[in-house]
Amino acid sequence: MGCEEVQVRGYPEFVRTAQSYHGRPIFALFCGDKDAEGRSWCPDCVSAEPVVRKELHNLPDDSVFIYCLVGDRAYWKDPNNEFRRNLKLTGVPTLLKYGTPQKLVEEECVKAELVHMLFTED
């Protein structure tokens, strides 16, 4: 279906991008950075990404999907990083519906049923 995908890296870029799409349903997947071969340092993110991508076609029509790389492992481990502080993220991967309390964290992101529910139900 017609949903737009945007890829961003780091907190400031994420916030700018989310604000620019204000008014449209925004879904975001937060993953650890990828190395030169395109593999993330976060094993759960590696498993979750294909599952999430497979469900993207179920997103409502004018949605925006923001794929956000949060940073390297050291940045993520810092308990005061901006994602933890401002977005209240507790783990990666996190898949959320921006502006709502609806989210899936870590192993929940690997379960197609749950991703489907997040994308399609109110």
């Binding site: 709502t100 309390p101 609806q102 989210k103 899936l104 929940e108 379960k111 049923e113 749950l114 529910m117 139900e121």
Partner: protein, 494 residues
Amino acid sequence: SVQAHKEEDNPQTTMEVNGLTPVPDSYDYDLIVIGGGSGGLAAAKEAAKYEKKVMVLDFVTPTPQGSSWGLGGTCVNVGCIPKKLMHQAALLGQALQDSRKFGWQFTEEVKHNWMTMTESVQNYIGSLNWGYRVALRDKKVTYENAYGEFVGPHTIKATNKKGVEKLYTAERFIIATGERPRYLGIPGDKEYCISSDDLFSLPYCPGKTLVVGASYVALECAGFLAGLGLDVTVMVRSILLRGFDQDMANRIGEYMKEHGVNFIREFVPVKVEQVEEGTPGKLKVTAKSTTGDQIIEGEYNTVLLAIGRDPCTRKIGLDKVGVNINERTGKIPVNDEEQTNVPYIYAIGDILQGKLELTPVAIQAGRLLVQRLYAGATAKCDYVNVPTTVFTPLEYGACGYSEETAVEKFGEENIEVYHSHFWPLEWAVPSRDNNKCYAKIICNIQDNERVIGFHVLGPNAGEVTQGFAAAIKCGLTKEQLDSTVGIHPVCAEV
């Protein structure tokens, strides 16, 4: 695909036409739970553990003011959770006042913003609603946001908010539909008054509020509204906290009165009229005395009705399957295994006749019931010595008999009451009341002075009471209590 098969057959038409009610010989589900509240969800999740095919139906009929909410039932959405959070908001207001005496300096006047608090509370509730949906989906429990009602043996009709109807069959059912606030039945009640169902998501500050009722819901709400700085009046028909120890109830009332809550005793509203529209608007309440002909009038921004709750059992087709209910109260009588008079239909939670209306009780009953049904367990829910706490500004925790009930059951000469006022250390510095906190235990002289009633009025009463409830379950006696060394300095050491 099984559902599609049933819809094509349209068994409902057959049933209604001949008046015969065919019993399906294979079912869509092992268990259908009607009601996704504390009891219903606990039962459904437990059944899923035993690989049973389970469905949960949950539907909230909007209030007269239009309020509605998500999965989780009363406790999560319009009960315990938001109540405790708002109670905490009020306590923090008090703490801010006390803090100056402990050396904190701030010159700005401290004000409360209703919208900020409500938004935070609703956000948290939203995460709980979502969490339940994830949990159910993860455990493969089918959840439908639809109104369930029986249409025939083993068969239920589910109607969603768009009016689409589906039929489902199950081997067993658990009714866990809970209750909703009662209205007065006077002119203007549904048009202008709100209930607890509306209060916790009210999109504007309630302002000057009249709380009608003397239940714990009424007193807790009046308590935190006053604690947030609002002008609050409580209109009481007769006594406070019916069913609770009356000595404790009166102490709670006195404390609230001394701390800014107005009480109008022995009056009932007879009419509510709108003086001004707005959010909030202005309402005029006319009330009549219960002891004479006196009529009084008052103006308030908000009128909150908290006069009782009625079970949601009248419109779920119980007559179609022959489940008995108490016609006067709507409650469902069950045996000690939560079974109704229809063997495959069970009931748990607030709708039960003669049982405590508490979340942990419903959860416990639901879990144990399912374990008996599917895991060969035999343990039954123990409804005796269930601890409870009323979160009025001065909190009240209790477990076991009230003094009146103990006297009635054992005879005044056979019980001994030990009591004491206490002064929390933390209250000494800000010079808060030194004669309000109170604790008492009721002992059965004929049974080794066993503690049969525990009552405490003071900060953190819930936390204090929990441990004593476990002790009482173990048969705590006065001697054992005396020989337990206290923790110092805490309230509980009294």
